[in-house]
Amino acid sequence: MSKLTVSPSPHIKSGQTTKKIMWAVIISLVPAGIAGVYIYGISSLNVIILSILSCTFTEALFLKFRNRDPKTILDGSAILTGLLLAYNLPPQMPFWIPIVGGVVSIILGKQIFGGLGQNIFNPALVGRAFLQISWPVYMTTWKNPRWWPDAVSSATPLAKEVSSHFSYTDLFLGNHAGSLGEVCVIALLIGALFLLFTKIISLHIPLSFIGTVGVITWIFGKEGFFKGDFIFNMLAGGIILGAFFMATDYVTSPLTKKGKIIFGIGCGALTAIIRLRGGYPEGVCYSILFMNAAVPIIDRFTKTRKYGFARKSPSAITF
């Protein structure tokens, strides 16, 4: 008889793996990428390719420095970071911007914390925030859809003075200037449905995030109360991409359902505040980063209810 394997129980597994999850998220983002490239022209594909290559190469280099198996690169996490970073960038920019963004995302966003699973902040958003602060002009030079007469330098719908020019249909289809991967809401929702259907993400974060933005912008969006254009605010900018694909990042979001809802509400509230009162027209990126920082404390106060533990009245918080 051949040699018997001895391993701890269980002896069967669900079959879901980290690698499969990463690749499923990458696949779910493909429709939005195709839409972006279709809307802004084939040249915007360069941004995606450069960003992915930069992230992958940096990750490979770091894995080598840390004496890790270079095959780990195939787990797909670096490719996903590159893809998400590109989706957060304007469709046309100097070639070195996505490269720098990718390097920063992987090094400052992920590897200095110890690599996969250890980072506090969403790596792609770290990269994007860095680029936004360092080269604000390139990061806000938008491109119009290629069928528009004036090709370059339009404002996004969230720039306050132009918001009234866009119909909901335009917003839904992505017929306006904006970041590469965030414009086409319908394409993003197709991907999001796939992730929900395969149970890779749950609705806790996206619903509470988008819902909170809707409620706050409805109440406080215009002079007087309950007059704001909440549908516009729930569709425009990076909110769909942010709520379904970035805020749901496992590593940088809370563990429990309760925690996820709190996290989503926090992201939504910060986004709405930045949009309505802040200096930036868009707040999704920063609100997620701020809430990422709050995850450890959210986790601490949203432990699960255990079987057989009588519900206790909340005791004094001790530090």
């Binding site: 051949s2 018997l4 129980s9």
Partner: protein, 438 residues
């Protein structure tokens, strides 16, 4: 009250579901470990060279939580020594060589008294003498379980026919083939506990077993019984989980079902009670399932306790030429992988699974990505990843703050973990470390 988490693994029960219970041949030799129950090992009452009959007492309970042990064949004691044990690796055992006669010791005991006139104490004594332990796998001495402190009023008896572990079908077959005996056994236990209501919980992947019990109940006009069909999900056969699904009650953390007036017994245990009281037969054989990758060897068989695994697999026709990857005693979720096939079947053995390379779990362990699948799978509502990762970093104080001691070790967290982190093992480690502190 919060709902409970479950997982839904493929049940693989079609492999052995339709195999009638067969009698396994009497082995040439049996290895009977002194530890096949929870509590103190039993104390041998025979010496090397002694002749024994099938059912003779060979070791007796030592202390309150312990159990008697009987010979499962007739023959001669050839040694009392360290021998392979399917769970502990090795332990002291009584080894008996068969004389091929299978002369029964208990046939001499003619039941003179009518069963219904037996007192509660007499029934408990018969159960205790027969060496019955929980046959669902926990192996807790039954007589202890049936003697709750007088302050505890028991008002419900649950018969556990959930059999939620994939592959296993021995309880299912027993419910199909011996419904009458199970009902009679359950009535005895109910009598001992002074309980009127008996609930039999069976998962709906065994509809024929539900029907079998219901029709037997109808035929014998048995009162007080209720057969409940349960959704098929794991680990519903866990005592505390079954109580929650049936009665929506929770056993307090660190407590026992009797703390809320409930006693749960597996169907095989109930069957053993029937045999011990009606036939005065000690527990020396049980039904197990042989299943796994090779459907040609699949069987449900009545085997003598102490039969080496090797003998059973030979009988089932397992060819040594096959590419066998792993042999597991018990179900695939909580069973123990075997390295030595000389290890015997013990009282708590529910099956032997022979697995080939299709069950290779080859992927290496990755970092936790905090996907929270383990949290959504944990039937106790724990946060396995937090215990597991703290335990891995040897931060047992942090691990302890997530209540590892409430873990029932069902394996659901490891089953769902996409990063292949051995969460159950890490939690077990935390439990041991924390226990040694206090």
């Amino acid at each position: 009250m919060a709902s409970m988490n479950f997982i839904h693994p493929t049940d693989f029960k079609d492999i052995a579901r339709n195999k009638k219970i067969e009698l396994a041949p009497i082995p040439e030799k049996v290895i009977l470990p002194l530890s096949q129950h929870l509590g103190a090992p039993s104390e041998p009452v025979v010496n090397t060279g002694d002749s024994v009959k099938t059912g003779s007492l060979i070791a007796q309970a030592k202390g309150f939580i312990s159990s008697n042990l009987h010979s499962s064949i007739s023959g001669k004691v050839i040694a009392v020594e360290e021998s392979p044990h399917p769970i502990a690796g090795s332990s002291k055992a009584i080894i008996i060589e068969s004389d091929g006669q299978d002369i029964k010791a208990y046939l001499d005991l003619v039941s003179t008294k009518d069963i219904s006139s037996l007192s509660k104490e007499e029934v408990i004594t018969l159960i205790k003498e027969a060496g019955i332990v929980g046959l669902g796998g926990a192996m807790f001495p039954l007589s202890v379980k049936l003697s709750p402190p007088p302050a505890k009023k028991i008002d419900s008896l649950i018969i556990n026919g959930a059999e939620c572990e994939p592959f296993l079908t021995c309880d299912h077959r027993l419910m199909l083939e011996k419904p009458k005996e199970i009902i009679l056994g359950a009535q005895l236990i109910a009598k001992v506990l002074g309980v009127e209501d008996i609930t039999i919980g069976i998962e709906e992947n065994k509809l024929d077993a539900i029907e079998s019990l219901n029709s037997a109940l109808f035929r014998f006009k048995a009162k007080g019984f209720k057969v409940v069909s349960l959704k098929t999900r794991y680990p519903q056969g866990g005592e505390k989980q079954l109580i929650k699904t049936l009665f929506n009650k929770e056993v307090p953390s660190g407590g026992l079902p009797l703390d809320i007036g409930i006693v749960v017994n597996n169907v095989q245990t109930v069957f053993a009670v029937y045999e011990a009281v009606y036939l005065r037969k000690p527990l020396y054989e049980r039904v197990i399932t042989i299943s796994g990758s090779f459907s040609n060897i699949a069987k449900n068989i009545l085997v003598r306790i102490g039969t080496p695994i090797k003998d059973i697999l030979d009988y089932c026709g397992l060819s040594p030429k096959l590419d066998i990857y792993k042999i597991v005693m018990g179900g695939p979720m909580t069973g123990v992988a075997q390295s030595d096939l000389n290890a015997p079947i013990i009282k708590g053995t529910s099956g032997i699974l022979v697995m080939d390379n299709r069950f290779k779990l080859g992927d290496e362990e990755l970092e936790c990505i905090r996907c929270s699948r383990c949290i959504e799978a944990c039937p106790v509502g724990l946060m396995p990843c937090m215990i597991g990762l703290s335990s891995k970093k040897e931060k047992f104080d942090i691990a302890n703050s997530y209540d590892p001691s409430d873990c029932i070790e069902c394996g659901s967290c490891s089953f769902v973990c996409p990063s292949n982190i051995p969460l159950v093992q890490l939690i077990k480690l935390a439990k041991v470390k924390i226990k040694t502190w206090s």
